[in-house]
């Protein structure tokens, strides 16, 4: 507890000092101190996650009658590990930033404050503390989004983020209001003792889904995320995408699994349905986007959707008294939270490295970076393959567990869930395949091939400390994949707390690395054995081939069916790579239209090709209400120019109406 408090205090003090003084040497210690604090917090969290225990405290600050309740239990500790791992990597990366170019004094004081706010959300144990730290988290991240405020696009992103954050927090305010009940017991301990009525529970669930879903990027509340996450400096983007979305999910888990009491089966439907739609649509957005960081942000949306599907399944199984299946689904969710925080932070840091050395975010100007940034290319490749859920890396472990829990869904008695589950399975499989296509595209266009711009041709490797940050995360992705079974085993205490059961038959497999979903004869996945097999097979193939073959290698110009073209423009670009997908999916979902304007012969104008995609969610759910609101306010504007007699009439009418309402109801 003292470590926790001390570390959080240190973060706050550093932030305050950096903000007040603005001195160069103070700014320089921001990232090292944040890294140290993250290590301290992470170690405490890890000890509590694995070893149990935890602490609780009530401080006499905050609202007068409530005080400030703090508590660190195993659920919070697990999320604490997720968050502080990401903070550590981002701070390490921050140490390598070019002070002359990238370090804006606007980011440095806020960075530790943002880290502290996220940690505070986890240990908050009453509604006030939760919402306060939630808002602190939103505001600090918002301020970093608009750090480069001279760019109009960043300002627009910041504006939309602020609006969506306000809507989300308002929704959470209502959620906690419903949980606290008429007596106003805002401490989580009090909330746990009172069971809400079904109506209240439904309202709380809906508002929690809006509040946490908007922060996490659940479609249709995602619109701000792909604008705001990329607008921030890259290490902050890594934190927002890799880590802050996890805080949002923590909020939902805390409310739905802990505070709201025993679940009803229908609670599971909204997260499952919204999550599945989010998973597929998020990737369809990603696969057509040409901005590297925005692609990553959309992929975050997808992963949040996958996590919500797993959470929904866990709720369904738990409500139907199937703790083993609930544990499998919940393990998939928690593991995916951990995995996604690793590979998404890694990918954003990699994108930051690319952005730093080339100054470009658009994929169309990249290419060939594998030659000029060899290490970053390796790390990014690990991240790209992990997020595509390919074995033996870590993304596949959670994906595998999720499919196992889908297979268990026929045992659910509700026919609505029985109809939904196969569709969920199909959509998850589609999302996995689209993820592979999306990241082959990103990696193939950015890192492989030939440079498409001068900047890409002049790229160079980033500083060592940034390589360490990315390399550490890449190593975690590999280890998390190989040791997925041990990691899942370590989730047992958290699972017990959430769904009342750990993974059945864990650790009974043929090797300690066997991941078992229900029992060993039913489903088993052993990443270490598979990896060993692949390694042996490739070494054997190499040996045999080298023994039998000529072993001669010659370098020559590319063959390209006899028509090699020296211009890098001949390569497939990001938009041409997604053209087949655009024809297949884009035409249905976004009404994608391709138009070719071909000038008549003899005309010197270049031919033009353009693609139009319509984002129906944006036009119907954001633009249309905004326009309606504008129209309405224009109409109501007339009310501001009335004569005093009319105002008096209006006031009198209002009084009469209120009195008559009071007379009827009382």
């Amino acid at each position: 507890m003292f470590v926790q408090g001390g570390a959080l205090g240190a973060l706050a003090v550093v932030a305050a000092l950096a903000a007040v003084s603005g001195r160069r040497f103070l700014l320089a210690v921001v990232y090292p101190v944040t890294a140290l604090a993250a290590i301290a917090l992470g170690v405490v969290d890890l000890a509590i996650w694995l070893g149990g225990g935890g602490f609780a405290a009530v401080l006499p600050i905050g609202l007068p009658t409530i005080g400030l309740h703090l508590r660190l239990d195993q659920l919070s500790a697990f999320f604490g590990v997720v968050i502080n791992g990401g903070v550590l990597a981002a701070s390490l990366y921050g140490m390598g930033l070019d002070r002359a170019k990238e370090l804006t004094p606007r980011v440095e004081p806020l960075f530790p404050l943002f880290a502290a706010a996220m940690n505070l959300v986890l240990i908050a144990d009453d509604a006030y503390a939760f919402l306060f730290s939630w808002e602190l988290m939103s505001l600090t991240s918002w301020a970093m989004v608009v750090a480069h405020h001279t760019n109009a696009e960043n300002r627009r992103a910041g504006h939309l983020y602020l609006v969506m954050a306000a809507i989300g927090t308002t929704a959470l305010l209502f959620a906690f209001g419903g949980l606290a009940g008429p007596a106003g017991g805002y401490a989580f301990d009090t909330i746990r003792t009172q069971a809400p009525t079904p109506l209240i529970a439904a309202l709380v669930l809906a508002t929690a889904l809006v509040g946490c879903g908007s922060k996490g990027g659940l479609i249709p509340l995602h619109a701000w995320l792909p604008l705001a996450h990329p607008a921030a400096p890259s290490h902050v983007s890594a934190l927002m995408s890799g880590v802050m979305t996890k805080v949002a999910i923590y909020g939902f888990v805390r409310i739905a699994f802990d505070l709201l009491g025993p679940p009803a089966w229908w609670w599971s439907l909204p997260p499952i349905v919204l999550g599945a739609i989010t998973a597929v649509l998020g990737l369809l957005y990603a696969v057509f986007d040409r901005d590297l960081k925005r692609v990553l942000a959309y992929s975050t949306v997808e992963n949040v959707g996958v996590i919500f599907v797993a959470l929904g399944l866990a709720l369904a199984f738990r409500a139907n008294g199937q703790p083993a299946a609930a544990a499998v689904a919940m393990a998939a969710a928690l593991l995916h939270i951990l995995n996604h925080s690793w590979f998404k932070s890694l990918l954003f840091l990699g994108a930051g490295a690319v952005l730093h050395v080339t100054g470009r975010r658009d994929l169309e100007g990249m290419g060939g970076l594998i030659h000029r940034m060899p290490r970053t290319a390796v790390f990014f490749l690990v991240g790209a393959l992990s997020i595509s859920a390919l074995p033996p890396l870590n993304g596949f472990v959670s994906e595998w567990l999720l499919f196992q829990s889908v297979i268990a869904a026929p045992a659910l008695p509700q026919s609505a869930l029985n109809f939904a589950a196969p569709a969920i399975g199909a959509m998850l499989a589609l999302a996995a395949a689209l993820a592979a296509a999306c990241f082959v595209r990103v990696y193939g266009v950015a890192f492989l091939g030939r440079p498409r711009s001068v900047e890409a041709a002049r790229a160079h490797e980033v500083p060592l400390v940034q390589q360490i940050a990315m390399g550490g995360l890449a190593l975690l992705c590999i280890l998390g994949g190989l040791l997925g079974a041990l990691l899942t085993g370590a989730l047992a205490p958290v699972l017990k707390g959430l769904v009342g059961s750990e993974l059945p038959n864990a650790g009974t497999g043929p090797t300690p690395f066997s991941l078992i979903a229900f029992d060993a004869s039913r489903s088993n996945y052993d990443a270490v054995v598979i990896a060993l097999f692949v390694a042996i097979a490739s070494v054997a193939a190499l040996l045999v081939v080298h023994r039998l073959s000529a072993r001669r290698t010659r370098r020559g110009p590319a063959w390209d069916c006899g028509f090699p073209d020296p211009s890098p423009a001949i390569q497939y670009s990001a938009s041409s790579f997604s053209q087949p997908l655009r024809r297949v999916y884009g035409a249905v979902v976004f009404s994608a239209r391709e138009t070719v304007v071909m000038p008549p012969p003899g005309d010197l104008q270049p031919a033009r090709f353009s693609v139009a995609l319509i984002d129906y969610i944006w036009t119907t759910l954001y633009i249309a209400p905004w326009r309606a609101l504008l129209r309405l306010s224009e109409r109501l504007n007339a009310l501001q120019f009335l004569t005093i007699r009319r105002y008096l009439v209006l006031m009198f009418a209002a009084l009469v109406i209120l009195l008559s309402i009071a007379a009827v109801t009382i």
Binding site: P422, G556, Q571
Partner: protein, 322 residues
Amino acid sequence: MSADLAKQFLAQGVQMFLVLLIAPLAVGVVRRVKARLMRRQGAPLLQGYRDLAKLLRKESVLAENASWLFRAAPCLIFALTWVAAALVPSFASGLMFNWAADVVALVALLGAARALLALAGMDVGTGFGGIGSSREMMIATLAEPAMMLIVLTLAIAAGTTRLAGVADFFIAEPLAVRVSLALSLVALIIVALAENARIPVDNPVTHLELTMVHEAMILEYSGRHLALVEAASYLKLVLYLSLLICLFAPFGMAPATAGIGGWIVGLLAWTAKLLTGAALLGVWEVSIAKMRVFRLPDFLGIAFIFGFLAILLAFLTRGAVQ
């Protein structure tokens, strides 16, 4: 127990080398049948082996800007496909390491091989490489979900995702005709055609054609690298044929408890079924034309819809039983 284990180990080893040995022959059969049906003489059945030997002897020409990924990919693709092929029960279901990867992992292993190949296709930065990679990934987004639905259907029917368990289930009750399994069969055949770049999805013998997919990705490979990629594609064909046999025609396969006699029966039955399957593929390829790339979604959409109907039926019937 140890004798049992030794037997399983042996079965695994035999299987591992068997698929490798028989793969070029299976491809030879397909080509031979196609050639004879077109009234051509056709290459000898063993041409696949000769092709591989020839490629190994030749020097490998790498494009000037090919990276390490381009050189490492063939070996990894081959290893991933080989491991996947070795895990599908062929003549005996009691394979030693079969437990390590279930069907979901098998699909993902093939997905990893495909992703690497698509990346390698984009490495040199040529127009053809990109066209192949982008179309391959588009086809994968249609075929992989269909495959996953089939896999989940079978897993629900058999109550396990372990391939050996599914195979044992189908050996035990081969006559249970179910609608969901029939739908899965059709879907799996379509997926297998797509995954193996066969007609009507792709033409394995084409070059210099704007419609090629698989061949476009591997256009820059030569020599030993090409040999490995080709061997991987041969193995993939055997894998899918084996999978079809193991799931829908498992008769003759030695169960986990069988002795050497059962193995020999299983071996003969599997080889016969595999070569028959290859011959049927040849007949199919001759009797149908290649589709335009953008008609593929319709064709693969059938697989997806059938897969979805299959899993829906599996869910509902199972829900009713309980």
